[in-house]
Structures are given as structure tokens and as C-alpha cells.
Amino acid sequence: MHELGIVTHVMKTLTDVAAENELTRIGSVTLEVGEVSGVIHEQILDCWDYMCTKRGPLFTGCKLVLEVLPAVTYCSSCEQTYPTIRFGRTCPHCGSGETWLLTGNECTIKEIEAE
């Protein structure tokens, strides 16, 4: 994922939300970011601050809060789960490579503070 594109689309989605809920200012946005989503925190925060200065009053001074969701992989051979970052693609329980990422790839707008 590339951070500027993500920021642009988060702001686009929130502009719709603001129109629906008659919001004039968003004070903060909480984004849930999966551990293996590839989103680089420092870069997305920089892009966010930059775009806030470009996108008019709705986002003026708006803060971005990142919450990390852990990455969990499921093994279809032994039907157990394990932490992805530590063990990668190979199941630590049975050694199988038949594994699938369950969570950890998210990029979700959890909530906003707004008026």
C-alpha cells in the first residue's frame, strides 16, 4: 500500500460521512491498521498532516490515531492459529505450508471525533 493514496481515500470516505451527518469539523480519526498491511506509520502520519493543510476546513488540525491489529494466520492442515509475524508462512504446530492470513491486513476507519 502507498500511504498518500490511502490518506486520499480515507479523506474521500470521511467527506461523504461528513455530508451525511452534517459535520463541519473532524477533530480526530482512528484508523485500524493490520500488522502486516504494509502501512508505514511514520509515512502515513506525515501524509496525513500534509493533506490536512490542503483539504479545507473539515480536516483543519485533524489528528490521525493509528491502532495496530495483530496478524494471525490459520493453518488448514492442523486447524490451529498462530502469530504471523513470529512464524511467517509455516505453521509452528505442524510444519505445514497450507496457511492463510486471518487478520492483519486491515485498513479500517474505526471512529472519528467530529462536530
Binding site: M1, H2, L4, G5, I6, T8, H9, V10, K12, T13, T15, D16, V17, N21, R25, G27, L31, G38, C107, T108, I109, K110, E111, I112, E113, A114, E115
Partner: protein
């Protein structure tokens, strides 16, 4: 200030735009294929071949998305097909809004198929719905058979995979069976078409699939 819970994907607004665009294309009886690949996989050469082979059967137009230049659009226009060049202003992918803008500058009434040649990139284009009806990924033999391991999302998201430059197979350690197995593991229903756009091998199957998808889109209510 109040807290509003959303739990929405960050592309929610784009996803809605994409749905609207697909409904509009349905009304217009135009099918949009989103072609995605790494730079240099041979997208423009593949399209040139498809246009040459199918231009008596269907009316084809091409939207070229690039960060800069109009080189690809010029190649397509030289074949007599309608082409528009869209610049993504530095963005590494096309989204539904940019695609709609490109479509609005085309003559859709005289068109059956629009190919969107997405920005050469195997990561970001897979994340954004452009409003396309079908997604086609292109992987060329020289890129190697390990790409499904490195860019799983792109393979998972695509409806068809075209493996190009099969005429170069004797010169590369590219294990076709391994690729097919790796891709099927990620996406059991994907259609796979090994082709050489240069020599014409395998083009018939891919073109038959394009025509069949177009026919279904244009006839099914």
C-alpha cells in the same frame, strides 16, 4: 465533539463510486476490463494483438493510465482503436473517480469493450476498485515464477491471468506448472492463459474468453 463509530474500509467511498460506474456501463452495454501488471510485462503489445485480431468483431477502446507521457496511447491509436490517455498525477494506481473521468471523455456509444491499462504496479492497483467488470492480471515469463508468492493480493483479486512472452520460455527458469499451482492455491477459480502476443500462441483462447465475457455482460439483464 462527539464520537462517531464507523468501522468502514478506507475505500468505502471509492467502492460506492465503482458500483455506480458499473451500473452506468451496464446501461451503456460496455464492458470494462482492468488490466494490471508490473511495468514492462507487455500489456500494450498484448492489447495491440487483441485489437488487430478482434477489430472486425467488437469495437474496442483503450484507456491508458500512466504517471506521465502518452507513448502507449499513440501506439494504440496507430492501430485504429479509440485511445485516451489518463494521467494519475503521480498516484500509483487508478481509482473509480479517475476511471470515470477517462470514460466520460470517450465515445461509449460506439464501443463494446474498454480496456483500462492500469499503472504498472503489482501492489496498489489491486487495492482499489476502478468500476471494471473483470480484472485481468498480466505476468510475463521474464518476471519469474515466484510472483504469486510475492504479490498474493493481485492474484487473489483477478478474474483472469495472462502469462505473456511464452516465446521466451526456453531462456528463463520459469516453471509453468509451479506458477499454475501457486496461483490456483490463491485463487481456485481464476482463468489462466499462457500466450505469446508476438507469435500468436494461445491468443485464441484468451480472445474467446474476452468475447464470451463481453457477450454475457451485454445480454444478461
Amino acid at each position: 465533539m462527539k464520537i462517531i463509530e464507523l468501522k468502514e474500509t478506507f475505500t468505502a467511498s471509492n467502492d460506492r463510486d465503482a458500483e455506480e460506474l458499473r451500473a452506468y456501463l451496464k446501461e451503456k452495454s460496455v464492458i470494462l476490463f482492468n488490466l494490471m501488471s508490473a511495468p514492462g510485462s507487455g500489456k500494450t503489445t498484448l492489447l495491440s494483438r487483441v485489437i488487430t485480431d478482434l477489430k472486425e468483431k467488437v469495437r474496442i477502446a483503450v484507456m491508458e493510465a500512466d504517471i506521465a507521457s502518452a507513448v502507449d496511447a499513440e501506439r494504440i491509436e496507430a492501430l485504429g482503436a479509440q485511445a485516451v490517455q489518463v494521467h494519475t498525477d503521480g498516484m500509483c494506481h487508478m481509482d473509480a473517480g479517475m476511471t470515470r473521468e477517462g470514460l466520460m471523455s470517450m465515445d461509449l456509444d460506439g464501443t463494446d469493450i474498454v480496456f483500462l491499462e492500469n499503472v504498472g504496479n503489482l501492489i496498489c492497483p489491486a487495492e482499489y476498485d476502478t468500476g471494471a467488470v473483470k480484472k485481468v492480471m498480466i505476468l510475463s515469463v521474464p518476471e519469474g515464477d515466484d510472483k504469486p508468492l510475492k504479490y498474493p493480493l493481485m492474484f487473489r483479486e483477478s478474474d483472469a491471468l495472462v502469462i505473456t512472452k511464452t516465446d521466451a520460455l526456453p531462456y528463463f527458469n520459469f516453471d509453468m506448472e509451479k506458477v499454475v499451482e501457486r496461483v490456483r492455491r490463491l485463487n481456485p477459480s481464476i482463468r489462466i492463459f499462457p500466450v505469446s502476443a508476438k507469435k500468436g500462441d494461445g491468443m485464441e483462447d484468451f480472445e474467446a474468453w474476452l468475447l464470451e465475457e463481453t457477450r454475457m455482460w451485454q445480454t444478461n439483464a
